[in-house]
Amino acid sequence: MSAVHPPSSESVLAPGHTYASVTDKILGLVLRRPTPLWLTCLALSAALLALLGIAITWLLYRGVGIWGINIPVAWGFAITNFVWWIGIGHAGTFISAFLLLLKQEWRTSINRFAEAMTIFAVMCAGMFPLLHLGRPWFFYWLLPYPNVMWLWPQFRSPLVWDVFAVSTYFTISVVFWYVGLIPDLAALRDGTTRWGRRVVYGTLALGWRGSAAHWQRYHKAYMLLAGLAAPLVISVHSVVGMDFSGGIVPGWHSTIFPPYFVGGAIFSGFAMVVTLAVPLRYFFGLQDFITIKHLSNCAKLMIVTGSIVAYGYMMEAFMAWYSDDRYEAYMMADRALGHYGWAFWCLIACNVCTPQLYWIRRVRETPWITFLLSLVIQFGMWMERFVIVVQSLHRDYPPSKWEMYYPTVWDVATLLGSIGLFCTLFYLFVRYFPVIAVSELRELVKEKAPEGSAPVGV
């Protein structure tokens, strides 16, 4: 299908599609026979997931001492991974909420898998602070629940705000995703004759029948959810930023953190969207729906958010000098030239220099280059969080507290394992759910290629 016409850089939907053709194409991808490639990918991800299982089991048995954390570097990989994963999730909500409210039609074919990406990324993220608690089985102490000592969480602490922000974010993301799925689940129910599938998808579709009154309320509810999710996504990473700026550590105690973190989150999230979109469109033949225009727009957004991040780095350096705070100044000098200087220059190369290549049209419009650059950016954003967490902590105020941080094999195993968890969930998602929101795609067909009034065969 895609070979018939050359890829256009301006279109968000290839011409020649009808309501029936988009429905059949996307729903045809669900539950088709597993290909050897899919099975291989799933097996590799599941192997990493098993590694996570081993790492967590050993952690629960021995405690957080198996990680490289120490005092002063108490946060280590766990919080680095937490911030990285939750940042990745943000682009999904940005695409589904902000771009919907701004009537950006190019979001239509990427919002479904981007929302799934959000949910899975938040699951990976939420795991790390809980494991880092030391005694994860007491996680419910974080919540306000009636207890015999009549104690409350400390509601003035950003760390407690984070519990509320992340759990609300996860809940609303799942609700938003599910509400979007209902009409497509109904289409899956109607499109199959197999009894088991009809029962499962029919149950999930809740008896959706596309009634006019239902569509009207559905649309209202969906728009309201988008309106609620848009400020929510800003609040979540702002609160994550405040986790840092609430601490009086040089390199953390700064008011720039919330906006700079939100920019960085959307930056890394769009990188992840590209990382997922390029293989998805290639292996599932979705070039008609996820076009060059989508990749190009994501690349442009990476230039914008990458510039916000670069501005953040610049202001950090400027404030270290302008504040005349000797601890801040030392932190900045150590960040660039100290033991972790290599990590700092690595993040500058990945996050500030790499996105500049997206100014070149050929780079934006060549899928495999966009894909490779998106991997570089994600690596760079992980390094950024590593530098903020580890480098800031390892030079605390009195030199007697200074300590290096070295990750152990268990730190690396948990990080790789979380990637395995994400990939496993994502591979299962692409097999059991439509990767593109079909009901929204039909609206796009209506706008782009209206069907004639000739009666359609029954």
Partner: protein, 180 residues
């Protein structure tokens, strides 16, 4: 044991696209039919209004729950810090409200968001696994490329023969009886 004959639920007509459906819905409404419904694979703007279906009440529900969530979230922080477990930290006020805003906001979004989803489902009477229109095999297309209009048998103006003829005049690709 007497097996009940399935009753007639209504007449279902299929149209080619959303515009044709909207046009047919206008004529059905003008002809005086009130017990009607239309089904489409995506939202056809204005269809519910044309058929005179009750307006959505989702927004007031979401607003109400959003306000309740905000009050509840703030009350929780205030109650814990001022009434139930006051802690004097460097003489700062117990009701340090700026610190409570983050949780107040999250509680607002949580309550409003859940009420948007649940409110929509409850107003739509979902989940509803059975509906007579599902008895029509061709209705499966309602989630693919089928645009349907149904005049229900309990409409005071409904007359099987006359209504069928009326629907046929609207130019549908098919008209079938819905039993259920």
């Amino acid at each position: 044991m007497v097996i009940k004959e399935p009753a007639l639920y209504g007449l279902l007509a299929r149209f080619a696209n959303g515009d044709a459906l909207l046009l047919a819905a206008q004529k059905v409404r003008a002809a005086g039919y009130r017990r009607t419904d239309a089904y489409s694979p995506f939202r056809v703007e204005g269809l519910a209004e044309v058929l005179g279906q009750p307006r959505h009440a989702v927004a007031p529900i979401v607003l109400t729950w959003g306000i309740l969530g905000a009050l509840g979230g703030f009350f929780m922080c205030w109650f814990a810090n001022v009434i139930n477990y006051p802690l004097n930290i460097g003489g700062r006020p117990f009701n340090s409200w700026p610190a409570f805003i983050a949780i107040t906001f999250e509680a607002t979004v949580l309550c409003a968001g859940l009420s948007a989803c649940l409110g929509m489902l409850i107003l739509n009477r979902l989940p509803q696994p059975y509906h007579p229109v599902f008895n029509v095999p061709a209705f499966r297309a309602a989630s693919r490329n089928g645009f349907f209009l149904c005049i229900q048998a309990d409409d005071p103006q409904f007359d099987l023969k006359a209504t069928r003829a009326f629907l046929q005049d609207l130019g549908p690709s098919m008209v079938v009886e819905v039993l259920g």
